[in-house]
């Protein structure tokens, strides 16, 4: 198992290098210019000088090598300096956003908390709703509950978040006036009142995303349970006189969890990636909103860095899912 993990980790290094190069070239070759949002009243020669000041006129490979150095040396060194007061980075240029001229990692640091709280909660809520629905739907296949569960999943699957989100805003914010439509990122939870406020402002985005997440996971859970319900070992367990509770929740559930855990684990990077539409709709201003804002403004350093971080997360969670298999199913060993 350890050898397997190490081998996979080593293999990840060249993979990530290739990914970083591909991302860099793709983003760079995509049409658009960091100057496209500037009003037409700014004359062309001033625009040219602004591009030069950003360093955006350098050849693509010069910028790639510089970015690699900044990503793998300057940024970790700056982080280390921040923790221990050393001076490894030596004041070298960090990765700067073209749009705001602020270090990209500072922006990410400001935005991760919102994304993790809101999107993470929505994911958790989604899982907590989906698992019981999936289990019970499979156990009572074609019952009324199963039909309702299917309806719920179909709605969650097919209604896009920009629609369900707007609907939720109109119902809960405009008509009922329960929740704010704009997320206040400066709210610090210090006491009961601010905690309630935090819950209120999280309610609508969590509802919107939770519905979509629960729909996906509940279908996986249901089908995986159905696959296992007809297996021989289930009949054996019943023949041994075990209670239905033990049969379903211990024997069937544990075996059914394997594919579901993969789906859940592979979905975790998307929590960090944020939710572009939902974040924009509710003003959560997390990573997803940062990404789409940077794409609109052709802020290449920001887009490149974010895309690469997502790549790192996806590669790592694939590995984690593989390792989890072994823990859930003793028959699976990679050595």
């Amino acid at each position: 198992m350890l050898t397997f993990t190490l081998r996979r980790l080593l293999l990840a290094i060249p993979t990530l290098f290739v990914i970083s190069l591909v991302i860099f070239l793709l983003v760079d070759l995509a049409p658009g210019s960091p100057m496209s949002e500037i009003p037409l009243t700014v004359p062309p020669d001033v625009r040219r000088k602004m591009i030069e000041a950003l360093g955006a006129d350098q050849p693509v490979f010069v910028r790639y090598v510089l970015w690699l150095r900044q990503f793998f040396w300057v940024e970790p060194a700056t982080l280390f300096d921040g923790w221990f007061g050393t001076n490894w980075a030596g004041g070298e240029q960090r990765i700067l956003s073209w749009q705001s001229r602020a270090p990209v990692f500072t922006i990410i640091g400001q935005r991760i908390p919102q994304t993790l709280t809101v999107i993470g909660t929505a994911y958790l809520v989604g899982i907590l709703i989906a698992l019981p629905i999936g289990i019970y739907s499979a156990y009572r296949q074609y019952s009324l509950f199963d039909q309702l569960g299917t309806l719920f999943a179909m709605i969650g699957f097919s209604v896009p978040t920009f629609f369900s989100g707007t609907l939720i805003i109109i119902i809960f914010a405009v008509t009922l006036g329960w929740f704010p439509t704009k997320y206040d990122t400066n709210l610090h939870v210090t006491d009961w009142a601010s905690f309630v406020k935090q819950l209120q402002q999280m309610a609508m985005p969590v509802m919107t995303l939770g519905l979509a997440n629960a729909a996906v996971i509940s279908r996986y859970m249901r089908s995986s349970m159905l696959d296992n319900m007809g297996m021989d070992y289930v009949r054996t367990a019943r023949a041994k006189g075990m209670s239905e509770r033990v049969v379903v929740l211990k024997h069937v559930l544990r075996n059914s969890m394997i594919p579901v855990v993969t789906v859940i684990a592979l979905g975790i990077p998307s929590i960090f990636g944020g939710a572009i539409i939902t974040e924009n709709l509710f003003g959560v201003n997390g990573i997803g909103a940062a990404l789409i804002g940077a794409i609109h403004a052709s802020d290449l350093p920001m887009v490149q860095t974010l895309a690469f971080i997502f790549a790192v997360l996806i590669v790592s969670f694939n590995l984690i899912a593989d390792v989890l298999y072994g823990l859930l199913d003793p028959r699976i060993r990679y050595d």
């Binding site: 210019s33 749009q99 705001s100 924009n280 909103a289």
Partner: protein, 566 residues
């Protein structure tokens, strides 16, 4: 005794409410929401309107413009003019006198050195200053004494109110930005995000592309202002969401740039929590005609250049017919509602500068058909007009934008009725406006017959804007497709008139020439067919008083006078 005085004072203050004379910091918090979030608080490094407006709460220029476009003093005792001697008789210099006892929000005095530094900061060739054109023709800026700033120009300057005037050209604090000049400018993250200013507010917190929190400036020059103790600008989302947060839920006091469809405007106003206000500046949605041939069969380097005149649009009768077939009132109503009005001018405002040209407003389909008949374009078997075996086919490009696609569809209907075969094309705005010489889809390259976008003149004086239509400004392979004369319009008489404008001092005479130039590119030659004069639609809550929408400066130009209606 003291308590009694205080109580009396409080009672007086209460009895005067909701008068605008409330004491400083008594009205709580004012909350803004911008559909695009603020990226940076230094207008010299970003010309994004969102950033410039947010910065205008903190940073101030020497002089600004009021809601009518009239120049007003901000940090100076009076506006320098020829009469008061502030502008030299030969028009080569302007001298500003700072207000006495003016302080930065950190308590240090504002001196002429700060203005001198600001000029050096922006004019530094390595700094990439976005407002460099404000310092066009500036030879030097010097401090005559601690409170006198003298700007000398390289030659006579009929309009010297550019440097240090308006929200685009504020004064920075030398002490804060001294280390940020030139190549270091973009790396000064803290000063760029939290500049020290003279405005009614100071920055207390800044999260990039999200929220700016501000507190009142205790050192603001008027001791009774601002009425609000703090302010917050929340960014992100879309125009619809921002408008809703003011007009329907009442969470925010002011939403900038809430350009939403006319039916949503009506339903949100009906909620009764706020109102929409429109600032009509100089922004005009227009169709530009390509005077050169964009035929893909032409070799690269000659395509869409002056070498090959346009085979169809070179005929003024065709251009006039295309303009006559359009119903501008319908376009304005469908696309912008209260935020637009039909226009025939490229310079639609201020009134004193705008030509009285309204001939294009009424649609004239029959007249248009007649013109095309006269030009030799007669309907063929399929209803499409043709001439010498060539079909009247027009490629009509614009950017991806729901309103522009509505406009394209409507105009296509009218032109099809006219017998024109119209092909539509929509390009991503970041490509269209990106100016990448390698892309075939930029508005400068104009590889289409007509294109639609919006453009405006910066400030009240349209000299720079009108000079864009000179021959020399035509984008071509020789200048890497840079330049603002997209049409490749070229008329020596126009160029000559622009020369006259640049040397004319008398304002009335300037206005007359500007109107003539406007007419030359619009009704006389039909090179540009203006469609809609667009305003900026913003929304404010009914509980926010003192708002005077302004198209010539920051919309928050008088935020110090805003107050809470009780």
């Amino acid at each position: 005794m003291k308590l009694k005085t205080a109580l009396l004072g409080a009672a007086c203050a209460l009895s005067f409410a909701p008068a605008a004379f409330a004491d400083r910091g008594t009205d709580g918090e004012v909350k803004f929401t911008f559909p695009q979030a603020v990226s940076i608080m230094n207008p010299f490094l970003s010309s994004g309107t969102k950033d410039v407006y947010a910065a205008s709460l903190v940073l101030e220029p020497l002089a600004g413009f009021d809601a009518d476009g009239v120049i007003i003093p901000k940090l100076v005792t009076e506006i320098p003019t020829l009469e008061n001697g502030g502008i030299s008789a030969d028009l080569t210099s302007i001298t500003w006198k700072l207000l006495p006892d003016l302080k930065w929000s950190d308590g240090s005095p504002v001196t002429a050195d700060d203005a001198v530094f600001t000029a050096a900061y922006c004019m530094d060739p390595a700094g990439g200053c976005a407002q460099l054109s404000k310092f066009d023709g500036v030879a030097k800026v010097e401090a005559v004494d601690a409170s006198t700033v003298k700007v000398t120009f390289t030659g006579p300057k009929p309009n010297p109110y550019t440097a240090f005037v308006g929200a685009l050209s504020p004064i920075l604090q030398k002490a804060q930005f001294a280390a940020c000049q030139g190549a270091a400018a973009p790396t000064c993250t803290d000063p760029n995000n939290m500049p020290i200013g003279t405005g009614p507010f100071k920055v207390t917190g800044f999260t990039v592309n999200d929220t700016v929190t501000l507190a009142m400036n205790e050192n603001y020059r008027d001791p009774a202002k601002p009425a609000f103790a703090s302010a917050v600008i929340k960014g992100g989302g879309d125009a619809e969401g921002s408008a809703r947060a003011v007009m329907e839920t009442g969470e925010f006091d002011y939403a900038w740039n809430t350009q939403i469809p006319p039916d949503s405007q009506a339903s949100m106003t009906a909620a009764g929590k706020g109102e929409f206000v429109v600032a009509f500046g100089t922004l005009v949605e227009r169709i530009e005609m390509n005077m050169t041939d964009p035929d893909p069969a032409l070799p690269e380097g000659e395509r869409a250049t002056a070498k090959h005149p346009h085979p169809i649009l070179s005929d003024i009768k065709v251009r006039t017919a295309l303009s006559k077939a359009i119903d501008r009132q319908i376009l304005s109503d469908v696309g912008y509602g209260a935020g637009g009005k039909p226009t025939c001018n490229v310079v639609p405002a201020p009134d004193a500068w705008a030509s009285d040209n309204t001939g294009c407003i009424a649609q004239d389909m029959e007249g248009a058909k007649k013109l095309l008949d006269e030009a030799g374009w007669v309907p063929g078997a399929d209803g499409i007009r043709e001439k010498d075996g060539k079909k009247l086919h027009i490629l009509y490009q614009s950017t991806v934008n729901p309103i522009r696609q509505d406009f394209q569809a409507l105009v296509k209907d009218w032109w099809t009725e006219l017998g024109v075969d119209v092909e539509l094309k929509a390009i991503d705005p970041s490509v269209f406006f990106g100016g990448d010489a390698g892309s075939p889809d930029t508005f400068q390259k104009f590889y289409a017959d007509v294109e639609m976008y919006a453009n405006n003149s910066d400030g009240t004086d349209p000299e720079t804007y009108l000079s864009q239509y000179q021959c020399v400004n035509a984008p071509s392979p020789e200048n890497q497709w840079q330049g603002e004369n997209m049409n490749r319009y070229c008329d020596p008489a126009y160029d000559a008139k622009v020369k006259v404008l640049t040397t004319t001092v008398d304002v009335a005479e300037r206005q007359k020439i500007a109107k003539e130039l406007n007419d030359m590119v619009t009704k006389d030659s039909m090179t540009v067919i203006p469609l809609v004069h667009r305003g900026t639609l913003s929304a404010h809550s009914n509980t926010l008083g003192g708002v005077k929408i302004n198209a010539w400066d920051s919309e928050m130009w008088n935020v110090a006078d805003w107050f809470r209606v009780k």
